[in-house]
């Protein structure tokens, strides 16, 4: 009994390094995609609430397409289509394909989050800003965005955790992330024990980021 526990612990210790290396891919992919997604999401959200009819349609269609098709399909599509569109790339550029797919997808979800947050701000704030002579972009930058941040942080935190878990899809294009590595170890060592350290790693990531986002939310609600 004691012997087998010790054996298990020794096995787990041996997996930590390879799992951690693969986890870098998971973490990098999630963070980069969510950050690019936020930037893209801001512009798509602004397009959605703008007066320009065509712009509004384009941004609406973007969101419709990326939320309405499977993420896995978007991933496969970009992985196979990128080398065709850009001859310098091959299907070996797995990480790039994944970053682009996850960023584009995340931008669609975050655009809706950001739009909802902007529209939840009292229209009187924009009117006051306008009546003081601020331009639309000044009003957005100085008055509306700063107030929407505290409403943005919790849903973007959720989105981040979803993306972090969804990145496990990249094993389908043979990119070695935490999930793929876990499966590789599982099949060669023929033990389910590897899921334990792997799950703990996912939980550490989601736990740390949940804590970070909570701090951020409190920070941005300080003036209330």
């Amino acid at each position: 009994m004691f012997e087998s526990i010790l054996h298990g612990l020794r096995q787990i210790a041996g997996w930590i390094i390879p799992l951690a290396q693969a986890a870098e891919v998971t973490l990098a992919l999630s963070v980069i995609s969510v950050v690019i997604g936020i930037i893209g999401g801001v512009f798509i959200a602004l397009g959605r609430i703008s007066r320009g009819k065509i712009l509004k349609r384009i941004c609406g269609a973007y969101i419709f397409v990326f939320r309405g098709t499977p993420l896995l399909m978007q991933l496969f599509f970009l992985w196979t289509a990128l080398p065709l569109a850009i001859p310098a790339l091959t299907m070996q550029n797995r990480f790039l394909a994944a970053v682009i797919a996850f960023s584009l997808n995340s931008a669609a979800y975050q655009a809706e989050i950001i739009r909802a947050a902007i529209q939840s701000i009292d229209p009187g704030q924009m009117e006051a800003a306008k009546s003081l002579g601020l331009t639309y972009s000044q009003a957005m930058r100085l008055i509306i965005f700063p107030q929407s941040i505290k409403r943005l942080v919790p849903p973007i935190g959720n989105e981040f955790i979803m993306v972090l878990k969804d990145t496990s899809l990249v094993q389908m294009i043979s990119l070695v992330d935490l999930m793929k590595k876990t499966n590789q170890i599982q099949s060669s060592a023929a033990t389910a024990l590897v899921y334990l350290p792997s799950a703990v790693m996912y939980l550490i990531f989601t736990g740390v980021f949940t804590w970070l986002f909570n701090r951020l939310e409190k920070h941005h609600a300080r003036y209330e």
Binding site: A128, K130, L132, L142
Partner: protein, 252 residues
């Protein structure tokens, strides 16, 4: 030359005609109070002057410049965007619900627009903001966030914030109707002081006693029209229009 002149302004929201031809002039230094029943179009009129709504037809002339000259919503005025925003800056607006920026301190609320729009240096903007906050009696609140203030204090910040842009005209849309009764006085006193200092003001209000005190002229609006305009002594003692009569009977 009047500071504000409107000629036959109309405003439609879809099928609903809210302003049906408003012609009004406000001379420099004049205080005009606008009274009238709910839905008369009083707010819409003020908002149209400040371009928070665009009018359907008619003319708006501010300080001699034709800001709007519209027919079916299309503006024939030949101003550039820059000229237009310069003219709009001559009007400061105070809202019923204050619309103070909650994420900025009191001082930042007042100093923001001079700094960002007029490009005044931060130090100068803040110095001027402190002076203005002193005149509205809020010296001790400069570094406080708005959440800590009463409605009356918020509205005084809003007045200081509008004044910080050095407008020639102040527009007030029911500045005291969101306030608890005991806080109304402090705000009215600030406005009264502005009137004494010669500010040109257009004030929509339900405070009939205040209007009688402070106004050079009272405008009675109902159903999108100005039905009567006269000095307070005259309109309160001797209203000519039947609707004015019954409105005043109800509120006095």
């Amino acid at each position: 030359m009047p500071l504000i002149e409107t000629q036959n302004i109309t405003k439609r929201f879809g099928e609903l005609e809210v302003l049906k031809g408003i012609s009004l002039t406000v001379q420099k230094g004049e205080t005009i109070c606008v009274i009238g029943p709910s839905g008369a179009g009083k707010s819409t009129f003020l908002r149209a002057l400040n371009h928070l709504e665009s009018i359907t037809s008619g003319k708006i002339i501010i300080d001699g410049e034709v800001l709007d000259d519209r027919e079916n919503g299309i503006n024939k005025s030949i101003l550039t965007k820059q000229q237009e925003s310069d003219i709009l800056l001559e009007m400061g607006m105070v809202f019923q619900r204050f619309n103070i920026f909650p994420h900025k301190t009191v001082l930042e609320n007042v100093a923001l627009a001079p700094e960002k729009v007029r490009k005044v240096s931060k130090a100068d903007a803040e110095k001027r903001a402190r002076d203005l906050l002193e005149t509205v009696g809020l010296t001790d609140k400069t570094d406080v966030y708005p959440a800590k203030l009463s409605g009356g204090q918020l509205q005084r910040v809003a007045i200081a914030r509008a004044l910080a842009m050095d407008p020639k005209i102040m527009l007030f849309d029911e500045p005291t109707s969101a306030l608890d009764p005991e806080l109304v006085g402090e705000v009215l006193n600030v406005i009264r002081k502005l009137a004494q200092d010669g500010m040109t003001m257009l004030i929509v209000t339900h405070e009939i006693g205040f209007a009688r005190d402070v106004a050079d002229s009272i405008v009675f609006m109902a159903d999108g029209l100005i039905l009567e305009q006269a000095p307070p002594a005259e309109i309160f003692a001797n209203p000519k229009n039947e609707k004015t009569k019954s409105f005043l009977q109800a509120v006095l």
